[in-house]
Amino acid sequence: MKRLLKSKSFRAGLVITVIMVLVTVAGYFFSPYDPEYMDLSLKFAGVSPGHIMGCDNFGRDIFSRVLCGCRTTLLVATGTVLIGCVGGVIVGSLTGYFGGVFDTVVMRINDVIFAFPAVLIALVFASLFGNGEATMILALGIAFIPSFARMVRSEFIRNRSLDYVESARLQGAGNVRIIFAHILPNAWPVLLQSVIIGFNNAVLAEAGLSYLGIGVQPPKASLGRMLSDAQSYIRISPGYALFPGLVIILMVLGLGLMGRSSYE
């Protein structure tokens, strides 16, 4: 940990992430305006001391909506990546480590999910469980498992015949121990890349699904949704797209910087 704190990029990442989390948490207790309050006179109002990010097409305060949107987006993205990552690690490590028929069968199932469009999974889930964030997280999380699983599996295949695994085995370490204590830490850099990319994709997928009416329902704000709504208004109100976009970049960047330093 001390070593980590010495790294500049880790500190930068930590600062960004802490700020983002603080802002998100603060958004629970405080926001300058009601994020759903509409004011005709403020339609597309520019940046001003009262509205530091301006207002959207309904005259709603963009800053308040970004605060509220961070919460939604963090929840959806974290939930999705968590399901995808945990699922992927379990599937990928077991198949990669043991191989054989088990590997073939599970990886084919994996292929099946991979080939299945996330949109279709989400539509099916929405019709079974109704619209909502939970449905979206579940659907996206499942859709994300295969890519994590592949990544982890190839790392395991690469590592399982390496010397250090052999020596661990000779020392009498069990399979579970080898998988989780020996190989997994080595797969960490690759996994971390996937987590960051996955996080990014989850934010986007959330916006895409909102377009189909699945997931976050208006007037509730989410960053992805704001970004896609703002596309039509980018000339009139560039800030509408820019601020949520920047916040997404910051979120991912903070994680990325921290992640990078932790294995370098």
Binding site: D111, F116, V119, I234, I249
Partner: protein, 312 residues
């Protein structure tokens, strides 16, 4: 060779499971292709008649097996929306997406390999640090957002390409590549960042290994060692990575197609899911699944070809 055969066999099984699940998915979700075509001016009788002509009034399993048997005979069915053979519709869309992905892949490879080699050689240098910082930011930019920004900078600001000015490859290959360059670039950006990072770290890891030191001690020059041994060996994990990136890029292309309004596989997949045009959706699924399996196989073969240890 046996493993390739096995792969294709399991590919077919995968495809059938996928197609069955997709068929089942359409049975679960609300929406009716006949209604989608007739919209709000529909009378219940007209909808019923259209359902009949689509064969939708038959039981689920009958429909599925008639579709599968058609597929085995090489007939992908007829699109509900376009009243045209699915194979015809898919072929052109598939080519568009493949061209886009291939172009993005070429861009990624061309940029990432030299940059990664450079960074590995000058690890910790000024350029390396700058590139690494830029990389980190690029990795955090959603492709969607990258698309919008590229459109505005190059399309509207500098006016060096025409947003939405897509021309089919058959009509004008040069125009096609010219138009596709920026969308492909948008697809490639995050991938370049990831790939530089991965290549650099594998090259560095590789160059710390004993055989490299031995080579140096034998008196071989730095560059020779680098190109002759290190990069080649570093390519083994990279091949798996690149093959997966290719499949990933197909998915990325699908999003980017929306931003740049390119009529490829992504657009037809979304519109046919929305329009409940199962024959088309199933055909697209088959294409994506085949691409995934091929990439998988290629990466396995690539690893075998590059790594003498596995070859033996």
């Amino acid at each position: 060779m046996k493993s390739v055969l096995k792969k294709f066999l399991s590919m077919f099984i995968t495809l059938f499971v996928v197609s069955f699940l997709a068929f089942a998915a359409f049975a679960v979700i609300p929406g009716d292709p006949a209604l989608m075509r007739l919209k709000t001016n529909a009378t219940p009788e007209a909808v019923e008649a259209l359902r009949h002509s689509y064969g939708l009034d038959r039981p689920f399993l009958t429909r599925y097996f008639s579709w599968v048997s058609g597929l085995l005979m090489g007939d992908m069915g007829t699109s509900y929306t376009y009243s045209a053979p699915v194979s015809e519709i898919i072929r052109s869309k598939l080519m568009v997406t493949l061209y886009l992905t291939a172009l993005a892949f070429v861009i990624m490879t061309l940029i990432s390999i030299p940059v990664a080699v450079h960074c590995a050689k000058n690890d910790g240098g000024l350029t390396d640090r700058v590139i690494s910082a830029v990389n980190q930011v690029f990795m955090s930019v959603p492709p969607f957002f990258a698309g919008i920004i590229i459109t505005y900078i190059f399309g509207i600001g500098l006016r060096i390409f025409v947003p939405g000015g897509y021309v089919p490859f058959e009509d004008d290959p040069a125009g096609f590549i010219y138009y596709m360059f920026f969308p492909a670039f948008a697809v490639a950006i995050p991938k370049i960042a990831v790939s530089v990072r991965l290549l650099k770290s594998t090259i560095m890891k590789e160059s710390k290994k004993d055989y490299v030191r031995t080579a140096y001690s034998r008196g071989e020059r730095g560059n020779t060692v680098l190109y002759r041994h290190v990069i080649w060996n570093a390519m083994i994990p990279a091949v798996t990575f690149y093959a997966m990136q290719f499949v990933d890029m197909i998915a990325g292309s699908i999003i980017t197609e929306q931003v740049f309004s390119i009529p490829g596989l992504g657009r037809i997949l979304l519109t046919s899911i929305e329009g409940r045009d199962y024959p088309v959706v199933l055909a697209v699924l088959m294409c994506v699944a085949v691409a995934a399996v091929i990439a998988d196989t290629v990466s396995d073969l690539g690893v075998i070809a590059l790594d003498p240890r596995i070859r033996e």
